[in-house]
C-alpha cells in the first residue's frame, strides 16, 4: 500500500523541485553534480569502513552496502576513493537510530572527516514516516512495489562520501539515468529505481575533482571540456627529399574551471595532420598521427614534403567523449633546394 504512494510521490517531488528552482531563477543547465563540500580524498585513496558497534546492519543490508561500495569502485571512472570494508576501520556505517539523517531521509552520510574517515547511516526497515513504514527491497519478504533498493541507496551515499551533491534533475526527468544523486530516490517498480553504477553526470564531477584514471580514458559525456592542440615541426625548413618530424600535443585547456582536469594530456585519440598551400583555404588531410608510446597526449609522424606547405593538427572529438575538438596553430614547413620546372612544387603526395 505504501509502495504505490512512495514511487508515485517521487515523481511528483521531482516536478516540484523543477518548479521551485524555476521560480527562483536558479535552474542550471544539465551538467556535473554539484559539490557537497569538504576536503577531497586523495587520488585512488583506499578508504576502509566497517559497521558501527551497536548499530550493525542485518546481513541483507550489509551485502547491499558492500555491493554499493563495489558499484562505486567499478563505475567511478575517476581517481576517486576506493571503498572497501575492513575490520577495525575508522569510517563507520550505522543501521537504525541514532542517526544524523534529516527527518525526511532514508539514509545519509557525513564526509566532514575526509580525508581520514566518513560516517554513514541507514534507516531501519519499518521506520515510520508520515506516509507509512520504510521498506527496503533486500529485506526478507519486502521486495514488492514501494520498496527502496538498498544497494543503489548505498551507492548514492558513497557518492556523497566521495564529494557528490544532489543532482538538479531536469523538469521532465529525462536525465534520470545520468545520475544516482537524486534528491528523492525512486521506489520499485518505477524505471531507474535500482541503478548499479554512477551516471555520467556523477562521473563528470568525480573526474573534475579527482581526474581520470588514465590519460586515454574517456571524459564523461556530461562534460564539455575544451582542448588545446599544439603542433611543431622539426626541422621547419628542409631540402627536397628530407624528412620532417611533426609532433602534436593534445591537452585539456588550462584553467580553474577544469579543476583536476586542467591541462591534462589526452592520449588515445585520433589526431590528423593537414596541409594546405599558402593562401589556400582548403585543408587536405595527410594522415592520422601516431600516439606516442612514451609521452602522454603526444602524437607524432615523420613526413617528407616535397614543397612548402602550411600545416595544422586537428582533433575532432568523437561522440561520447566529453571534450571539444580543437585545431593547432598553423605552422609552415619550408622546402627548398629545388628550382625550375623540374621541381615537384605542385605534386601532391
Amino acid at each position: 500500500m505504501n509502495g504505490h504512494r512512495i514511487w508515485r510521490a517521487s515523481g511528483i517531488l521531482a516536478g516540484a523541485l523543477a518548479i521551485s528552482l524555476t521560480a527562483h531563477g536558479a535552474i542550471l543547465a544539465h551538467g556535473p553534480d554539484p559539490l557537497l563540500g569538504g576536503t577531497l580524498w586523495g587520488q585512488d585513496q583506499s578508504v576502509a569502513y566497517t559497521w558501527r558497534t551497536g548499530q550493525v546492519p542485518p546481513t541483507w543490508m550489509q551485502a547491499a552496502i558492500d555491493a554499493g561500495a563495489s558499484d562505486s569502485n567499478a563505475s567511478r571512472a575517476a581517481r576517486a576513493a576506493v571503498l572497501m570494508r575492513v575490520a577495525g576501520a575508522t569510517s563507520l556505517i550505522a543501521y537504525g537510530e541514532p542517526s544524523s539523517c534529516g527527518a525526511a531521509g532514508i539514509a545519509c552520510a557525513d564526509r566532514s572527516g575526509a580525508p581520514k574517515s566518513f560516517r554513514m547511516w541507514v534507516r531501519a526497515q519499518g521506520y515510520m514516516f508520515d506516509w507509512g513504514a520504510l521498506r527496503w527491497c533486500q529485506a526478507p519478504g519486502s521486495n514488492t512495489n514501494g520498496c527502496y533498493d538498498a544497494e543503489s541507496v548505498a551507492l548514492h551515499e558513497f557518492g556523497h562520501v566521495q564529494v557528490l551533491g544532489h543532482h538538479e534533475d531536469l523538469a521532465d526527468e529525462s536525465d534520470w539515468a545520468d545520475t544516482v544523486m537524486h534528491t528523492v530516490a525512486r521506489a520499485k517498480p518505477k524505471a531507474g529505481y535500482a541503478p548499479r553504477a554512477y551516471g555520467r553526470c556523477d562521473t563528470a564531477r568525480l573526474q573534475l575533482e579527482y581526474d581520470r584514471r588514465t590519460t586515454d580514458a574517456l571524459f564523461s559525456s556530461c562534460l564539455s571540456i575544451p582542448t588545446t592542440l599544439t603542433l611543431s615541426a622539426s626541422p621547419s625548413a628542409i631540402g627536397v627529399g628530407e624528412s620532417v618530424s611533426f609532433t602534436a600535443s593534445l591537452r585539456t585547456a588550462a584553467g580553474t574551471a577544469q579543476r583536476a582536469l586542467s591541462n591534462d594530456p589526452i592520449s588515445g585519440r585520433l589526431v590528423v595532420l593537414q596541409r594546405r598551400t599558402s593562401g589556400s583555404m582548403a585543408w587536405v588531410t595527410v594522415l592520422t598521427m601516431t600516439p606516442s608510446p612514451s609521452s602522454d597526449g603526444t602524437y607524432g609522424t615523420t613526413w617528407s614534403p616535397t614543397a612548402t606547405y602550411e600545416w595544422q593538427a586537428v582533433f575532432a572529438a568523437p561522440a561520447g567523449d566529453g571534450i571539444t575538438g580543437s585545431s593547432s596553430s598553423v605552422i609552415t614547413v619550408t622546402v627548398s633546394g629545388c628550382s625550375g620546372l623540374g621541381c615537384p612544387q605542385s605534386v601532391d603526395r
Binding site: 505504501n2 504512494r5 510521490a9 511528483i12 517531488l13 516536478g15 516540484a16 523541485l17 518548479i19 521551485s20 528552482l21 527562483h24 557537497l36 563540500g37 569538504g38 546492519p57 542485518p58 541483507w60 543490508m61 543501521y95 537504525g96 537510530e97 541514532p98 544524523s100 539523517c101 534529516g102 527527518a103 525526511a104 531521509g105 545519509c108 552520510a109 557525513d110 564526509r111 566532514s112 572527516g113 581520514k116 574517515s117 560516517r119 531501519a124 526497515q125 519499518g126 521506520y127 515510520m128 514516516f129 508520515d130 506516509w131 507509512g132 513504514a133 529485506a139 526478507p140 551515499e157 556523497h160 544532489h166 534528491t183 528523492v184
Partner: protein, 323 residues
C-alpha cells in the same frame, strides 16, 4: 469519517495496565546501572512533582531480520531510579517541559498520548484517538498538548490540534492539513512533520518536510495568526528564536549549512556553512548551539540568530549537541 475519543481518566486507567514489577530502588544517580523500572500510572500528572532535571533517551528495538520492532524509552530524573517504557515503531517523544515528557504511540489501531513525570516516575494518558498521532509537544505553561495527526486509512494529513490538559480536555484544530497550504502543496507529499515551540511558548511551529525541503507554519497561539516560511532549501527545524526560524539546509548529509529565516520577510541568512550538529541552547533560548569540525577538532559555537553573531561555547560539550 473518523472518530475521536479522549478521556483523561480513562487514559490513566489504561496506563495502569503497564505497571510491571515496581520494585523499590534507590534514587541516587548511581542506580542508573540497575535495570530500569516500568512506568506507573498517576491519575493527575499535572499535580505531581515538576522538578526539573528530567531526561529521556529512545533506543530502537530491531529484530534479527533488521526490522524496527519498537523503541525502548528510558526516562530518568536525578531524584529517582530510571523508568523504562516499550513503544511501538510509530512513536514520538518530546520534552521534558516543566518536568513532563510527552509520549505518543500507536499500536496499529489506536494512538494515545501520555504525559510522563520523570520526577514522579508515572504517566497519565491524556488522549486516545482512532487516527494516528505523529508528533506531540507540551506547551510551556502545560495547559495544552499540540499534536499532529494523519488519517489511519490513507495517512492523509489531518493538521495540528490543541488538546487542553484540563479536565475538559477539549481538542481544537489550530492548523489545517498541510496540503491546504499552497506552498506545502507545491513542495509535494510530506514525509515528516516536526512540531516545536518558541522559548516563551507563545508560538508553535509545524514544519512539513520531504527530501526536497520544508515549509514551516508558525502559529501565534494567542491569535492563531499563521505565518508561512520556507520551501525548497529549508531543512529540519532547529529552533524558533524571536523573529528567526533556524533550520538546517536541505542537505541529507553532513556537513550541512545552518540557516536563519526572517519570518516576516522570508529572507534567509546562513549562520554556519558547514555544521555537523545544531540544537537550541538549553541555557539561553536566545541562542542556538552549532558544532563544526570533525571528531578530532570539533568546536561548538553559540550563535545569536537575530544578528548572526557567534562566540565559542565553553559550557556545552560538542558531543551533547545533537542534530
Amino acid at each position: 469519517m473518523w472518530r475521536r475519543t479522549w478521556n483523561l481518566r480513562l487514559g490513566a486507567l489504561g496506563a495502569v495496565l503497564l505497571v510491571v514489577a515496581l520494585a523499590p530502588l534507590a534514587t541516587t544517580r548511581a542506580t542508573r546501572v540497575a535495570p530500569p523500572e516500568a512506568l506507573g500510572a498517576c491519575p493527575d500528572v499535572a499535580s505531581r512533582s515538576r522538578a526539573p532535571g528530567g531526561w529521556w533517551s529512545n533506543r530502537p528495538v530491531i529484530d534479527a531480520d533488521g526490522t524496527l520492532r519498537g523503541w525502548r524509552l528510558r526516562l530518568g530524573h536525578p531524584d529517582r531510579s530510571d523508568r523504562e517504557l516499550m513503544l511501538p515503531p510509530e512513536a514520538a517523544v518530546s520534552g521534558p517541559t516543566a518536568g513532563l515528557v510527552v509520549v505518543a504511540d500507536d499500536d496499529g489501531r489506536r494512538s494515545r498520548i501520555r504525559l510522563v513525570s520523570t520526577a514522579a516516575g508515572c504517566a497519565e494518558a491524556v488522549l486516545e484517538d482512532a487516527e494516528v498521532v505523529r508528533r506531540a509537544v507540551l506547551a510551556a505553561d502545560e495547559d495544552a498538548v499540540y499534536l499532529h495527526l494523519v488519517r489511519r486509512t490513507d495517512r492523509a494529513d489531518l493538521g495540528v490540534w490543541r488538546l487542553a490538559t484540563d479536565a475538559a480536555a477539549r481538542l481544537l484544530r489550530v492548523l489545517g492539513p498541510a496540503t491546504d497550504e499552497p506552498r506545502i502543496a507545491t513542495l509535494g507529499p510530506i514525509w515528516s512533520t516536526a512540531l516545536g515551540l518558541d522559548g516563551e511558548g507563545r508560538r508553535l511551529v509545524a514544519q512539513s518536510c520531504n527530501p526536497l525541503g520544508c515549509v514551516a507554519r508558525i502559529v501565534d497561539l494567542r491569535t492563531l495568526r499563521t505565518t508561512v516560511v520556507g520551501g525548497a532549501g529549508q531543512g529540519d527545524l532547529i529552533a524558533l528564536v524571536g523573529a528567526r526560524l533556524v533550520t538546517w539546509a536541505s542537505c541529507h548529509g553532513l556537513p550541512c549549512a545552518v540557516q536563519a529565516f526572517d519570518i516576516t520577510t522570508g529572507r534567509r541568512e546562513i549562520l554556519e556553512v558547514a555544521a555537523v550538529s545544531a540544537a537550541p541552547f538549553p541555557g539561553d533560548s536566545r541562542f542556538v548551539a552549532i558544532s563544526i569540525g570533525h571528531d578530532d577538532d570539533r568546536r561548538t559555537l553559540l550563535v545569536d540568530p537575530q544578528t548572526g553573531a557567534a562566540r565559542p561555547d565553553g559550557t556545552t560539550p560538542a558531543s551533547e549537541v545533537q542534530r
